[in-house]
């Protein structure tokens, strides 16, 4: 019998000798076995846990839950979303190769590509449309990178369209802000990456990341044979094996068992939170529209159709409003009672932040303009509070900032 994902999220596949109803927390750094078993585990003849940097039962349970959510063939958890993206990038790239990335991606990822990977001879080329991507894709392309919804550009990337033209290049999709409402595997993504700190967790108490292999890509493709080192003969599992055994184990960005347990707790309510946050965001975006403000939200932009199709009738939980100037934006944010001014996304709590002076502060003026970060832009990540409380609070803040 197969259950829906909504039910699966509440019931992880717990294997516990005492019948624990909730994920047990295994804090051990190492696991002891008899000599033959340890030898078999080291030589990959037998499954088992030996060292938490490579695998841990609590972390594995989280990996299994994220994998069920994505219908993947396997998932590897990392210490953060950036650790996850870094590991995937380093695995798939080599000197003189190119990353083709959708424009206006998250600042941390942008910096990884431009400031770090360039140092190792990897070039990143940004594309604005699928036509542009078609022109620049080549034998030197290591992978294509896109976010389901750009932050803070609110640009919705049509993943199916990218998948249809990507040829034999892996498509890596950051779905951090759209878990549950977006399924990468069915849309043609090869790898899905997450900052689990955001919507997956939702409670703001854990930093983590994950990489899911959707099973769509044939890793027998010779272009990656050298990257897979000793694991190239593992067929469909070659990517996952290399990722875990080399890029998790040796770069060391492993998730702690405590973090995994915390994120697992958050994931139990994921389906409810995503729905509530998205509905609240729609309500508030409509309110700001009625007020005549410059609102950027997929439901009210040129991405409406793509978003509705790709996110199963939802439009995400983040929106931006342009208040015209830094001064007005500061006054507005400081006048809010419920929303918090902090740099996180997709939490139960609504957050509002002035983009140019915070999340976009590392960008040049030209890069800010390209990312849609104007001097008065405020990013609002909508939580699960009462929508009328939020509307009244935002309305008061607009009055105090003398915007309405």
């Amino acid at each position: 019998m197969t259950f829906t994902k909504k039910s699966a999220l509440v019931h992880p596949m717990i294997l516990d000798q005492f019948g624990s109803a909730v994920p047990p927390l295994y804090k051990a750094t190492s696991f002891a076995h008899d000599a033959e078993s340890v030898s078999d585990i080291f030589s990959s003849k037998k499954a088992g846990f030996v060292y938490t940097r490579i695998g841990n039962p609590t972390v594995m349970l989280l990996e299994s839950q994220i994998n069920r959510l994505e219908d993947g063939i396997g998932t590897v958890a990392f210490s953060s979303g950036m650790a996850a993206i870094s590991a995937v990038s380093m695995l798939l790239c080599s000197s003189k190769k190119e990353i083709l990335a959708s424009s206006s991606i998250f600042g941390g990822t942008y910096s990884l590509f431009i400031n770090i990977l360039s140092h190792y001879g990897v070039k990143t080329v940004f594309f604005n449309s699928t036509d542009e991507l078609k022109r620049i894709i080549s034998d030197d392309t290591a992978f294509i990178f896109a976010e389901t919804i750009g932050n803070p550009s609110m640009k919705v990337t049509d993943i199916e369209e990218l998948a249809s033209i990507k040829k034999d290049v892996p498509l890596v999709v950051d779905a951090t802000v759209t878990p549950y409402i977006f399924n990468g595997k069915s849309r043609g993504a090869d790898i899905v990456v997450y900052s689990a700190t955001k919507m997956l967790s939702g409670h703001g108490r854990a930093v983590g990341g994950a990489v899911v292999d959707c099973g769509n890509y044939d890793w027998a493709n010779l272009r990656y044979k050298t990257s897979f080192a000793n694991y190239s003969d593992l067929g469909q599992m070659a990517f996952l094996a290399t990722l875990r055994q080399l890029y998790l184990a040796d770069l060391g960005g492993c998730m702690s068992p405590e973090t995994a347990e915390s994120i697992l707790t958050g994931m139990e309510t994921l389906a409810l939170r995503v729905k509530e946050s998205c509905e609240n965001a729609e309500f508030l975006a409509a309110f700001f529209e009625e007020k005549g403000l410059n609102v950027n939200y997929p439901k009210f932009s040129s991405y409406r159709q793509t978003a509705r199709r790709q996110f199963n009738g939802y439009y995400g939980s983040i929106l931006t409003i342009d208040l015209g100037s830094r001064e007005k934006a500061f006054k507005f944010v400081d006048s809010l009672k419920l929303p918090l001014d902090m740099p996180n996304l997709c939490d139960t709590r609504t957050m509002a932040i002035h983009a140019a002076s915070t999340i976009g502060s590392m960008l040049s003026e030209k890069e800010k303009a390209a990312s849609g970060i104007t001097s008065g832009l405020v990013r609002i990540s909508v939580g699960i509070e009462d929508k009328y409380d939020l509307k009244n609070d935002f309305s008061n803040a607009l009055s105090k900032a003398k915007i309405q």
Binding site: I41, F42, M237
Partner: protein, 70 residues
């Protein structure tokens, strides 16, 4: 039914059709996402574990990839 599992001959209960998926359960493979499976020398995609029915003398290799610490 006689199968060769990781190089060793084993008799596996076959009261009904034995799928690769069921064999993973019988062999107590708790985390299928940590194993690559070869059937008679050919890798089997995870999507096909349910539908792949085993027969007498099939050679099954479970290749795990969660190795040790240092």
């Amino acid at each position: 039914m006689k199968l060769i599992i990781n190089g060793k001959e084993e008799n596996v209960a076959d009261n009904e059709q034995l799928s690769l998926s069921k064999l993973l359960t019988l062999k107590d493979v708790k985390f299928p996402q940590m194993v690559s499976v070869q059937l008679n020398g050919e890798f089997v995609k995870t999507d096909l574990y349910e539908s792949k029915i085993l027969k007498e003398n099939d050679n099954v290799e479970f290749l795990y990839f969660m190795g040790g610490g240092r």
